[in-house]
Amino acid sequence: MQVNDNKEFQPLIVAFCCNWCSYAGADLSGTNRLNYPTNVKIIRVPCSCRVNPMFILRAFQRGADGVILCGCHPGDCHYTSGNYFTRRRMTLLFSMLDFLGIERDRTRVEWVSAAEGAKFAATMNEFTEAVKKLGPNRRLEDLRCRKQ
């Protein structure tokens, strides 16, 4: 993350993708050469329901500017019901982040299937733009963790 007067702000974005749908969707956007910014770094998880809200808080603490969580479409979860848990947990987490003063646009849950490479790229472009507009995350970042 660089905040530089003569350089455009480049947010750091962590994307958690479930192995069965969204990670495959991300692979598909690569296979189809659909561009999205380098700001997005993907972490593979077996299911979106594996993502502990703690991971998202940790990312913000360590200086991430946005966190996006992608899973299979509701009803299509490889594990039948995992993404329903995700949906509920993230609703709670996001309302807590609201309370902490973290802008709602810094976090997002998106359903991307293995066939939706174009949607994955479009989502990442859009999300990066949205986070760019918000500027750097200062509220939750632990400055002691910042790399000098």
Partner: protein, 668 residues
């Protein structure tokens, strides 16, 4: 001390063109624990794999990171290479710098920077990887086939042929399904009964096959190789083991006004019945809704009882109760089939008003030698020969409204051509009209068959749709339709109208899918694991799909799929055990407080609780309730790890600390 090897792949120019692979290898070589960092043209090639193997042996590596294509592509390749060199395969991590880096970015500087970060994240993760050993779980050598139509019969025969026990569960009193009701088959015009009934007999005589007719699956538990199903044998008030199928009871039954379901209500049968002459098992069943004795409520009352008196072997048992059987299975094949839709919402075709407006399946019975008219085609209303017959295609198929189905029912074009042809053949004085939107005949000898109906049998095919059917006083039926090619509205004075009714999955399919945790589409057809490459497997391991429960199909396609499903099931049953995914959840007993939060979110029922003794200070012990995960059942989704309030539950291969390490590495 960790010794980690890093290998960066060029993938020809796929990666190297946008990512400076040398710079990546160089940057990663400075990471903590990295003892060797190399780049190579094609890591997945034999030479590339040898590079990894040699490094493992030479440097005694404790972890390997490959920066290459997606792990969905070659993770297994590199795991095998590591295992060959003596390293636990789960100590290998892949950094995806092709699909998720070089292919989507254009600027070399930023792409290289990102590739380095992804590499660092993989290194951070591999630091925390632990050796994992895939467990094994035994396979029960028995298959369950749900549905006893031609699909279920074929699947069962194939599995039995391979030497495995098979149980067929059929909800009706006989196996045979829809094919038993059909008169002839297209495009060869074989008699359906002549080719089906030998198969039914074969199934009943095969000592590996057990047929549970008049039965339902009421519960299924377990997982691939290890299912437990509960089968409910509904009471038929006849002892199957005693009944000889002589039919004496059906003759004496005084209640002969029961709509004959096998003939789709086109004639009547007795309250005690055998569905048809070739039924398997050939055993009588009493319909409790109509039986004079059973309808009374108290079977001890002296009412009727004629069937029991007529039975020479004492098979009638008015006191019979439902019976439940529990059985273990290694594989389950779903073959629940289809039904024509109800036509209540299509009364512009006067189906409910006029007995001479029939569905195609009803026409099969009307034309069948074993049907209500003994094979002579007569109008249901006045038992006269029809001289003008109108067929209406796509009734309820291809609809974008709440009344019908959005899909093409696939079989109607062909069976309508068959009906038209058979009628013209047998009754040359009959005029036959077919109203169609498109004639769809993709299949071997299918279009030729349809052309024969037109050219040789002079069936009048009219492009257009019937809009209104009005029965008239003289017994004829006014069919009002459009002829799109001559652009006129036609009125045909027909004697009979046949509706090519859309087909839908059987109503029992949805509750069954819930029981089996398999997926269904919005039309209640079972979803295959992969539309092209895994067409007979469901996404749930160990559950296979056979016949029209997966989508509309004709008989040859159904049989082909039935055999394919059988071969998949056999492939599973021949194994003594199956390898389990080692990336499963596990609970730290010392941290677990037994709250049951994890158990409630587990979709597989893999978590159980046990009381365990723990040592406490001062040489005392305490009993605590702790969670334990069955690694053979757990599929590794991780839902429980987040639900666990005490942090006792963690997931192998994707542990809390591993993911957190990745987050930290990315955010540095």
């Amino acid at each position: 001390m960790q010794k980690i090897g890093v290998f960066v792949c060029h993938c020809g120019t796929n990666i190297a063109a946008t990512v400076d692979v040398k710079a990546v290898a160089e940057a990663l070589s400075h990471e903590a624990g990295v003892v060797i960092s190399q780049e190579y043209q094609y890591m997945c090639s034999e030479a590339g794999q040898n590079l990894v193997k040699d490094a493992i042996k030479e440097h005694g590596l404790t972890g390997v990171v490959i920066c290459s294509c997606s792990p969905r592509m070659h993770e297994n390749t590199f795991r095998k290479a590591a295992a060959a060199a003596g390293l636990n395969p789960y100590l290998v991590e892949i950094a995806n710098i092709r699909e998720q880096c070089s292919w989507i970015h254009k600027d070399i500087a930023t792409a290289t920077e990102k590739a380095i970060i992804l590499g660092k994240a993989a290194i951070a993760k591999v630091h925390l990887n632990t050796p994992l050993v895939a467990g094994e779980s035994p396979v029960a050598k028995r298959a369950l086939v749900i549905g006893g139509g031609i699909a279920g019969i074929q699947t069962a025969l194939d599995i039995a042929e391979a030497g495995f026990e098979v149980d067929i569960v059929e909800k009706e009193a006989t196996i045979g399904g829809k094919m038993a009701q059909i008169d002839k088959t297209f495009p060869t015009l074989d008699c359906a009964a002549c080719i089906l009934t030998p198969k039914m007999v074969e199934a009943s005589q095969n000592e590996k096959i057990t047929i549970h007719s008049y039965s339902e699956v009421s519960a299924v538990k377990g997982f691939i190789g290890n299912f437990t199903a509960t089968i409910k044998k509904k009471r038929r008030f006849v002892d199957e083991t005693k009944c000889t199928g002589c039919g004496a009871c059906t003759e004496v039954c005084p209640m002969q006004k029961v709509p004959n379901a096998f003939n789709l209500g086109l004639n009547n049968r007795g309250a005690v019945y055998i569905p048809f002459a070739q039924a398997v098992p050939k055993v009588a069943t009493i319909d409790a809704n109509y039986c004079l004795k059973l309808r009374k409520g108290d079977v001890n009352e002296k009412v009727c009882g004629k069937c029991a008196a007529a039975c020479t072997v004492g098979a009638i048992n008015y006191h019979q109760q439902d019976e439940y059987i529990e059985q273990k299975y290694g594989a389950i094949v779903v073959a629940t089939g289809f039904n024509p839709i109800k036509l209540d919402k299509y009364d512009e075709f006067a189906y409910n008003q006029c007995p001479d407006v029939v569905t195609s399946l009803e026409l099969e019975r009307l034309m069948n030698a074993a049907g209500p008219n003994g094979g002579t085609l007569l109008r249901p209303s006045d038992k006269t020969h029809p001289h003008k017959i109108v067929f209406v295609q796509c009734v309820g198929s291809r609809c974008d409204d709440s009344k019908g189905k959005p899909y093409c029912s696939k079989i109607c074009c062909m069976y309508t051509a068959k009906h038209a042809m058979l009628i013209r053949e047998k009754y040359p004085d009959t005029e036959v009209y077919v109203f169609y939107i498109d004639v769809r005949t993709p299949g071997k000898n299918f279009d030729e068959f349809y052309r024969r109906a037109v050219e040789q049998y002079n069936v009048h095919y009219i492009k257009g749709m019937v809009g209104k059917v009005t029965p008239k006083a003289d017994g004829t039926i006014d069919v009002q339709a459009s002829d799109l090619l001559s652009n006129e509205q036609l009125h045909i004075d027909a004697d009979m109208v046949v509706l090519a009714t859309a087909i839908e999955p059987d109503k029992t399919a949805r509750p069954l899918a819930t029981m089996l945790t398999t997926q269904m589409d919005t039309n209640d057809f079972f979803t295959e694991a992969h539309a092209k490459l895994r067409p007979v497997e469901s996404a749930t391991a160990g559950i296979f799909l056979s016949g029209a429960c997966q989508g509309p199909k004709d008989i040859p396609e159904t049989v082909a799929q039935a055999s394919a499903a059988a071969s998949k099931a056999i492939g599973l049953l021949v194994k003594d055990s199956i390898t389990c995914n080692p990336c499963v959840a596990h609970s730290n007993e010392l941290m677990c407080n037994g709250c049951s939060a994890c158990e409630k979110v587990c979709p597989y029922g893999a978590i159980t609780y046990q009381d365990k003794e723990f040592r406490t200070p001062y040489r005392t012990t305490v009993m605590r309730r702790v969670a334990s995960v069955n690694p053979a059942v757990c599929q590794g989704c991780g839902a429980c790890t987040v639900a666990c309030p005490s942090g006792a539950m963690d997931l192998n291969g994707f542990s809390n600390s591993q993911i957190m390490a990745e987050v930290d590495a990315i955010c540095k």
